[in-house]
Structure formats: structure tokens, C-alpha cells
Point group: C2
Chain length 336, copies 2
Amino acid sequence: MRKIINLSNKPYFLSSAAVGGYEERRGPLGESFDLCDDSDLFGMESWEAAESEMGRISLNIALKKAALAESSLDVLLAGDLENQCVASSGGLYTFGIPYVGLYSACSTCTEALLLLSVLLSSGELSLGATVTTSHNSAAERQFRTPVEYGAQRAPSAQWTATAAGSFILSKNKTAGKNVFVNNVMLGKIVDGLTKDGANMGAAMARAAFDSVYTYLSLAGKPLSDYDRIITGDLGAVGSDILCELFTKEIPGAEHIHTDCGKLLYSFEKKNLHSGASGCGCSASVLAAHFLPMLESGRLKNILFLSTGALMNPQSVLQGNSILGIAPVINICSDAE
Amino acid sequence: MRKIINLSNKPYFLSSAAVGGYEERRGPLGESFDLCDDSDLFGMESWEAAESEMGRISLNIALKKAALAESSLDVLLAGDLENQCVASSGGLYTFGIPYVGLYSACSTCTEALLLLSVLLSSGELSLGATVTTSHNSAAERQFRTPVEYGAQRAPSAQWTATAAGSFILSKNKTAGKNVFVNNVMLGKIVDGLTKDGANMGAAMARAAFDSVYTYLSLAGKPLSDYDRIITGDLGAVGSDILCELFTKEIPGAEHIHTDCGKLLYSFEKKNLHSGASGCGCSASVLAAHFLPMLESGRLKNILFLSTGALMNPQSVLQGNSILGIAPVINICSDAE
């Protein structure tokens, strides 16, 4: 049965970091990123190694901001889109932090923050981190074709973000910190009712709707309690579908909806089509954009739900429907 | 910092199920499996669909044994070896159970049981399940070459089990149930110091040793407290390496060590080489072999650590070292 998990200890955000590539720096949030590398290579020799390095750099920045040594972390939860999630394991093993590997497609950031919150709240662990990454060129050659081939992209296609987002959370309220995870709700797999691998936004919109609808029903609080409902990477196409569902079933929700995939790039850049996607999209936008707004008290109460499309190229070729999932975390600020 | 997580509520095993294919039925544990299909296809048309179906069947059997409806489960944790873990998502979404996707290679069974134990112990969730699967033919064509090509295999190579294991756990002691998770310890990624994709046992042996050594140091109890130290799928080659390390560093541990990968098949069958591997290996051997021994009280206290090799074919081709991980759960029996 779907439940809201109320956390007995509310885990606080100690620090975060957003790292990106060329397109991310050029986008409207570019200035808010901690580090961007215009070469997308981060000093490495392959896109895959670059993704690993980007994750490593982002965790290092978050550790530095929190003035913590890696040895003080009790757990690290991570995931990415590369086959067998090697970007995360390969980039993060040198930290020596107890490790939990996750796969929930582009919803992995929220899944990781959700599980970290429960692990911390249960009391035995004090400090933990999450790292989620994606790399456009690594994803393109794995899921579609190498970018060098110059394949034509569908208008509904999204641009996998070259981005990493890291978060460090503490079990308890910490001096000077005011953003915390209030409660969480696990995602449920929902059939996206599409087999179109170039329209992930549509495939995930129903899962996002299902999660918001269920969460609001279970929480039983008025919509006006929430400042924003933030989805991960529905992009323009998926966001339109979600907002249409909102208008019918949760009137008003469409006015407080925002999507990280729509925020990361400027829509004047036509080749990015429907917007951003990837594990790094919602992670970096939360770190670079929404967390500062919560810290300043501009936002006080948000529903954050990264959205994932559960598929691989072979499953699409074999004619399977694309499945969506959208775990939810309720992030609040007690800033004065 | 690595810690043993003591569970405030000890989650109890309500039921389990082991499902396998042709080789699994022929092996020494074949009689203990709940269901085996000699065609390895489980009525489906592709190996990938067969793996999904196998996972689905195993959860259905576990639900039936526990006399539970799927709607009573609060969480389902699952993972497999297929790219983007589609075997799990594709096979399990019809249950409609809140879902957590995991990737920890062949250690996913222990990772899932570990996280489920913490989720249940934290108090808000009452019932949960784990499902982990692997399929020989799906794995061969994804990681190496389709079996139909008849490629030569190295003597150190292992045979990915066509197997699924499901477990249903309850937050609290339940009438008639006597096997519980006592405490857990997260895995740490350890460099396997090998780049040989045909010798996963060697790559994982160091991670297994690191976990056992750390666990025993932290627990501070004599080795004689434990009936067995059970690794997931080191196979013959990896087990030899681990036992050599035990002999030097934890004398006596080698006498209580067993490996699921060595138990699943008969070693007379030469083409299976170093033994079994895969997410389904340790899961099905725990369900079919060790859990009944704990239920009967023949075993009272075991350390169970599935072992995972974090790599993909491309990461090996790019010259990366194979990384190992081995989360630990301490499973006990209070059978009279």
C-alpha cells in the first residue's frame, strides 16, 4: 500500500553541488552552477570517464562546502544512466564511503534522497550523501547513436543533461541550516502507454500525475500549502500532458507546477527540443536553483519528484511499453 | 564511516520463493526450488521476457506462501543484470507495489534485503518484498556473445544462473515465523585489482574479505558465534582466494565459509566452470537452501553477503579495473 513515510528525525541539507558542461553553462541557470566545463570532458579521455569524473568533482565540492572529510560520511547513494551504473561506481569508489547503488532512471536523484532520508531518520547513521549524474554524449551513444553521426532528432526528444548533482544530509537539525526533508513517498511504476523512445516526457507524465495525486490525497492538506510541485524532466511535451491532467483532476496544481527539464536550457536553442533530461538534470537544478530558494525562505514547502522512464533500447525494440516512475520528497524550509 | 546498523525492529521472513531453469533443476538444489522450467523460457518469446516472467512468478509464489495479497505490500525492492534493470521493472510493474529499483550487480539480493530491513525497522512500513533475477541467455548475449555462437569460455568463467529469488518480510515478529534480520552493514566498493572480465570471482573476493573483516571487527563477537559465512557468487576461483585471505587474517573463518555459486551446480558438469553467478544465484540459494535450514534451527546465525562486480562490457574494454562490493546481513533464527 502506498504510504507517506513520516520521518521521525528530519534530515537537513548540509550542502549541495551542481556541476555541468557546455550547454548547462549557457542555459539560464549556468551562473548558479558550481563548476562547468565547456569541453564536457572534465580532463578525461572518454565521455564515460568524464561522467564519472563529474560525479566525483560534485561530491568533492559538496564535501568542501560542508567542511566535511569523506571519511565522516556513513553512506553514499548513487546512480546514473550508463549500463550497469558504472559512471557512479567508477567515479565514486575512491572515496571509500559505504555505497548503495540505485537505478531508477532519471528519477534516481529523488529515489536516492528518499532512501538517504529514511536511512538517516532510522537513527544509526549520522551523515550521508547522494550523487546522480548523466552525460549527453555517453547517453547518446549508448541509447541512440554517437553524436558524431549527426542523427536527426524528433521534436519531442529531450537533451540528456551533462550534469551532476550532489547533496550531503545530516540526521538532525544543524546550526545555520534550514532546509529539511519533511516526509517522503515511494514511487509506483505506471505504464506510460507509449512505445516511442523519442518521447520520454509523455511516458513519464502519467507516473508523475499518479504520484502527485496519491501524495496529495494521503497528505490531506490543501494545495495552497505547497509553493511548488517540481517534476524532474518531463520537458515541454510531458509537462503539457501533466498540466492537462492537473487541470481536470487537481485544479490549480498546474499553476504551481515547474519542471527541471524546462528550466535547464533556453528554449530559443532549437536543437535541445523538448528540454533537458537525465539523472543529472533534476539533481543539478535542485542544487543550483531550488535549494538556494529554500535556504533564503523564498520557497518554504515543495514537492520534488524526479521522473524516470524505465526502459532500455532493446526493450523498446522488443515492443515493450515505456514505464514511468516518480518518487516524491517533501522538502521544507524553516528559514525565518 | 562503516557501521553496523542495529535494527530497532527485527524484520522477520514471512516467505520466500526460488525459481530456476534447466541447469538449476539438474543441480544439487534442484529439488528445493519452488519451480523450474527446463526450457528457460517460462512461456515467453525472448530470454529478456523470460527473466521478467521468472521474477513475476517467484513473487507470486512468495505471496501465495505468505497468504498475502500484493496490495498488502508497502514496498518492493528489485534489481537484475539487464541494462537499465528492465527485467525487474518490466516483470514487476503489474503488481502495483511501491517500487525501489536497485543496482548492485550480483550483490543486489543482499542490498535489497538490507534496505528493506531498514525501511521496515524505521516503523512506517509494515510489509515488503525483494525480487532479484538473472537469466543465463539474456546475460550472455548482453555481456559476452549470444549462447548460440558457442564461444569458448575461460576456466575461471562463471555461469550466470537462470534464477529468481523473492522474499517477503514483516516489520515485526509474526506467529510461526522464526527467521529474522538481526543487523546489517552496507558494502564498500573495493578495487578487484583485475581487468579480466572472465574472472569475476577474483574481482569480488577482496570486497567480500573486506566486508567480513570489517563486520567481525565492528561486531566484536567471536567467530564461533556464527554458523556460516555465506558469500554470493565467488565461485571456486574466488572462494579459494577468499579462504586464503581468511587463513592469513581471520583464521578459522575458512572453515565456516560457503559460497552460493559453488552450491547451485554440480562440479562434474565441466561447462559450468567456476560455478554460478548472477543476481538470481545468491537469492535462489538463500530461498531454497539456507532459509529452510534457519527455519528448522539447523542454522542459528549466519552472515550472508552477496557479492557484486561493478562493471560493464564497455568499462572493461576501456581498461578499467573491475570493482567489487559485498553488503552484509546477519540473519538469525529463534527456532527452538
